[in-house]
């Protein structure tokens, strides 16, 4: 590994351990997994605020019936860009950032297997997201057809269309490279004692996620390329007038889109399974069933896609098959929730900020799971589909699930990364504000959807006014509460509370993972020789 660093380290004596390059160049050319992890995490945090600002535009417009702030077309651009930025700019990169930081440290490896590709996949991500963001300033506005980019509507996009498509290509290449890197690292660079079934669950869930990514990103890239040729090169894949079928796009998209949802939730499961045992002071309950359940969910994710399309007019056999297959997801997901509960059972729990976020995740993700179960029932979905009920459902599985767990991960590992302790009081304040406001924000959306409010509308009938106002108030509290997190992160990096942080950080954490055997903060290069033994109590 040091050889890689040496190459661009010419102003440095070549006698002993190599540190990072100096100045900004360090971040541009770095091949160090910790640096790249940091880049990913900071970029994701920035995009979280960008996507969040877009969400607040949406909620501001929906605060009252009537149009007050934006034109409908721009509103549609906001819903589209909010989703794309949050999915591809915030949640996915944040988990890649965690993977970069933690996987080598968890498996006793000195770095990622393919460090230069690692650098490239990060900068391609930045290029992709910037290209996507640039469409906001183009003639005809940013894409406004929803993040699903359904034709024929998406083909009405103005100058932005090819840019959005190429941005998806860049993001796809970046994700695939990241995924290859993770798989190569996990398969080749584990410490000798670290057998597959001794790997921390975070590593397991990322391994499975990486395979999902490699399987689905090319499918998405293919789908958008077909849009590109339909628009510019005279093909008619999705145009009935030329023998195509708009529904074909939906099938291809959701073959990507459903596993994509799990790309955002499986690592979430991994982090939760890492944090809960530490604060319950107990091994994770049912480690191997957790691994199998993750694999089962990943497998099922490939065979349930058309439950996003129950109302599209499928034959009855298709409707029934996709209904049954979708119901099955409840089983492995249930196993996970039960396992987390059993992990807490008879533990000796303390409730530091990471644990609070993790418990809220288990509860609120389960609520998202319940509505998911309700929607799996195809005839009921004929009512729920494309209403605010769905909006509530997937936001419950993404915001108080993925986002909360990312927050938990931040609080959990920040002391390890920086060697400084965050401010527990403000952390808890951030938690309670977030946990309460996220429910004010999303819970009323269940009511709105059931009462008949369609999603993706900039204005609504007056009987939906009250709950929309409540939801918007929740949104603004939630949004501004996140500034606390930003403040905590900055403060912790700059020195935190000044408390001394031990290697373990959390009581007895070294029983739960190799990363806690390293100093806090860990040196630039760690595990240059693999550790002899690995903790066996992380499960």
């Amino acid at each position: 590994m040091s050889a890689v660093v040496t190459e661009h380290d010419d102003h440095h004596e070549h006698d002993h351990d190599h540190g990072p390059s100096k100045g900004l160049l360090r971040w541009l050319i770095t091949t160090n997994h910790k640096d790249i992890g940091t880049l990913y995490l900071l970029f994701a945090l920035a995009m979280f605020f960008v996507g969040g600002a877009m969400a607040l535009v949406i909620r501001a417009e929906l605060f009252e019936p009537g149009l007050q702030f934006v034109q409908p077309q721009f509103f549609n651009s906001m819903t589209t860009m909010h989703a794309l930025v949050m999915v591809f700019g915030a949640v996915m990169p944040a988990f890649v950032g965690l993977a970069n930081w933690m996987i080598p440290m968890m498996i006793g490896a000195p770095d990622m297997a393919l460090p230069r590709m690692n650098n490239m996949s990060f900068w391609l991500l930045v290029a992709g997201v910037l290209m996507l963001a640039s469409t906001l300033f183009m003639e005809g506005g940013a894409p406004a057809s929803g993040w699903t980019l359904y034709p024929p509507l998406v083909l009405q996009t103005g100058a932005a269309l090819p840019f959005a498509i190429f941005s998806v290509h860049l993001l796809g290449i970046s994700s695939i490279m990241g995924a290859i890197n993770i798989i190569a690292t996990i398969f080749n660079m584990r410490a000798p004692a670290m057998t597959l079934m001794k790997m921390p669950l975070f590593v397991w869930t990322w391994l499975i996620t990486a395979f999902l990514l490699i399987a689905i990103m090319p499918v998405f890239a293919g789908a958008v390329t077909m849009l590109l040729t339909d628009r510019f090169f005279g093909t008619s894949f999705f145009d009935a007038a030329g023998g195509g079928d708009p529904v074909l796009y939906q099938h291809i998209f959701w073959f990507f889109g459903h596993p994509e949802v799990y790309v955002m939730i499986l690592p979430t499961f991994g982090v939760a399974s890492t944090i809960i045992p530490v604060f319950a002071r107990k091994p994770l309950f049912g480690y191997s069933s957790m691994v199998y359940a993750t694999a089962a969910i990943a497998f099922l994710s490939f065979i349930v896609w058309a439950h996003h399309m129950f109302t599209v007019g499928m034959p009855i056999a298709g409707e029934l098959y996709f209904m049954y297959a979708t119901m099955l997801i409840a089983i492995p997901t249930g196993v996970k929730v039960f396992n987390w509960t059993a992990t807490m059972w008879k533990g000796s729990m303390t409730f530091e900020t990471p644990m609070l976020f993790s418990i809220a995740f288990v509860v609120l993700f389960t609520m998202g799971g319940f509505t998911g179960l309700m929607m799996s029932v195809a005839p009921s979905d004929f009512q729920y589909h494309d209403t605010y009920f769905i909006v509530a459902h997937f936001h419950y599985t993404l915001v108080p699930a993925s986002i909360f767990i990312l927050m938990a991960a931040g609080y959990f590992w920040l002391p390890k990364w920086t060697g400084h302790m965050y401010d527990e009081k403000i952390g808890k304040l951030h938690f309670w504000l977030s946990a309460i406001s996220v429910n004010i924000l999303f819970f009323p959306q269940h009511f709105l959807g059931l009462a008949g409010m369609p999603r993706r509308i900039p204005d609504y009938a007056v009987q939906f006014a009250d709950w929309n106002m409540v939801s918007s108030i929740g949104a603004f509290i939630f949004g501004f509460s996140q500034l606390l997190f930003l403040w905590i992160v900055v403060k912790t990096i700059k020195g935190g509370t000044g408390e001394v942080v031990t290697d373990e950080v959390w009581e007895d954490a070294s029983k739960h993972g190799l990363e806690w055997t390293l100093p806090s903060p860990p040196p630039y290069h760690t595990f240059t020789t693999p550790p002899e033994i690995v903790p066996t109590e992380h499960f």
Binding site: L67, A280, G286, P379, S380
Partner: protein
């Protein structure tokens, strides 16, 4: 401190206003007015209760544990971490619950899908941004779009309080009328992009897809007015294409059909008539406001970058036939109005745009000319796509 007080007062006021508005909104799915919608409601409640019970059990256990098994209470952690027995148990029980759910769900799904033996058929076509209804048995045919009052109020900065508009955004100019106690088959398609036709009281929604036909059916027991909306994002005005279904007793329905047929004769007669330019301009203004103003703006100024201005436009001030051709066939985001507008409305709006909005070409076109155009070129926007692609390549 003062701010905090204000905030609290604000929250209390809000809670009170919610309380008082209790009757105005629903928290739960509508039971609806058909057998299917009742079945769906029952399924919904069944699964909701299953979820509630599972939730109480799981969260109950979790919160018991959170309360009693905490370090601050001196609880010492046990170190158990496996139990095959319990793992099998909590795999099998959910499976059985799922089977229990799947059985009634399958039954309802089969019913929902059974479009056979219908008494009558209505073809529904989604357009950007209105609905076209065609009664296949009687030949009644019309377009249905957002009513004028809502349309005025919903413009950005209109200054009109939506609460003062009856059925704001849920009202149309021409509602769909159906007889009660008849099995009605719907055939769904779309003219431009995807739409989805949803009336919650009927218990389902169905996507409308250009080039394809979807089917669904309903059997309404009770006369009444049932409202819904488009539920598939279809562009700018997706939120502004409501659906209103009026279910009537058979006798009333028959009268309505007769009335509609009379209206058709009237429209035809109007198209034959010779119209003066001023008449056309006067008529054209309301047609323009209802159909064109949401993109090209009420004063014809358009929106830079998105929708071209009509005031001073080369096309509008140029050859009348090329303007007619474009409006007739549509282009890019501009829908094909050839089928949507009656001959009179079409001729009126063309004449209006050429002689108002700052334009003064001075010519006009007669409805009869549009009529002959319709009969010679009844087709759709065939070359719309080619236009798009040309545009893209340049």
């Amino acid at each position: 401190m003062k701010k905090a007080k204000q905030l609290i007062a604000c929250v209390i006021l809000m809670a009170m206003s919610l309380e008082s508005a209790q009757a105005a909104y629903d928290l739960n799915l509508k039971q609806g007015v058909t057998q299917i919608s009742h079945d769906v409601y029952d399924l919904h409640m069944l699964i909701l209760w299953i979820c509630v019970f599972i939730g109480i059990a799981v969260f109950g256990a979790m919160f018991y544990s959170i309360y009693y098994h905490r370090k601050s209470r001196g609880h010492v952690a046990s170190q158990f971490h496996e139990s095959t027995k319990i793992e099998i148990l909590w795999t099998i029980i959910p499976t059985l619950i799922l089977v229990g759910m799947a059985i009634p769900a399958t039954k309802t799904m089969m019913e929902l899908n059974d479009v056979q033996d219908a008494d009558m058929s209505i073809k529904v076509t989604g357009w950007q941004w209105k609905w076209e209804y065609e009664y296949l048995d009687t030949g009644v045919h019309f377009f249905s779009s957002l009513d004028e009052a809502s349309n005025r109020a919903r413009q950005l900065g209109s200054g009109i309080d939506p609460r003062s508009v009856p059925h704001y955004l849920l009202n149309v100019d021409n509602p769909l009328v159906i007889p009660v106690k008849k099995k009605i088959r719907f055939l769904f398609t779309a003219a431009d992009v995807l739409h989805s036709w949803w009336v919650p009281d009927l218990g389902w929604k169905k996507d409308t897809i250009p080039g394809f036909i979807n089917e669904a059916w309903t059997y309404v027991e009770k006369p009444g007015t049932y409202r819904g909306q488009c539920t598939e994002l279809c562009g700018k005005d997706h939120g502004f294409m409501p659906i209103v279904v009026i279910a009537m007793e058979q006798v009333d329905y028959d009268n309505w059909v007769a009335e509609q047929k009379g209206l058709v004769a009237e429209t035809n007669a109007a198209a034959e008539k010779e119209w003066s330019k001023d008449e056309l301009i006067a008529k054209g203004e309301s047609v323009y406001q209802n159909n064109c103003a949401s993109c090209h703006m009420a004063d014809g100024a358009g929106m830079a970058g998105a929708f071209p201005a009509l005031s001073g436009s080369k096309l509008v001030n140029g050859d009348i036939n090329s303007q007619i051709d474009l409006v007739y066939k549509g282009k890019g985001m501009m829908p094909a109005f050839g089928q949507m507008l009656s001959e009179v409305d079409f001729a009126a709006v063309i004449t209006y745009t050429r002689n108002a909005l700052g334009n003064a070409v001075g010519d006009s076109v007669q409805p009869s000319a549009i009529k002959s155009l319709k009969s010679s070129a009844p087709a759709q926007n065939d070359d719309k796509d080619e236009d798009d692609k040309d545009e893209g390549n340049t």
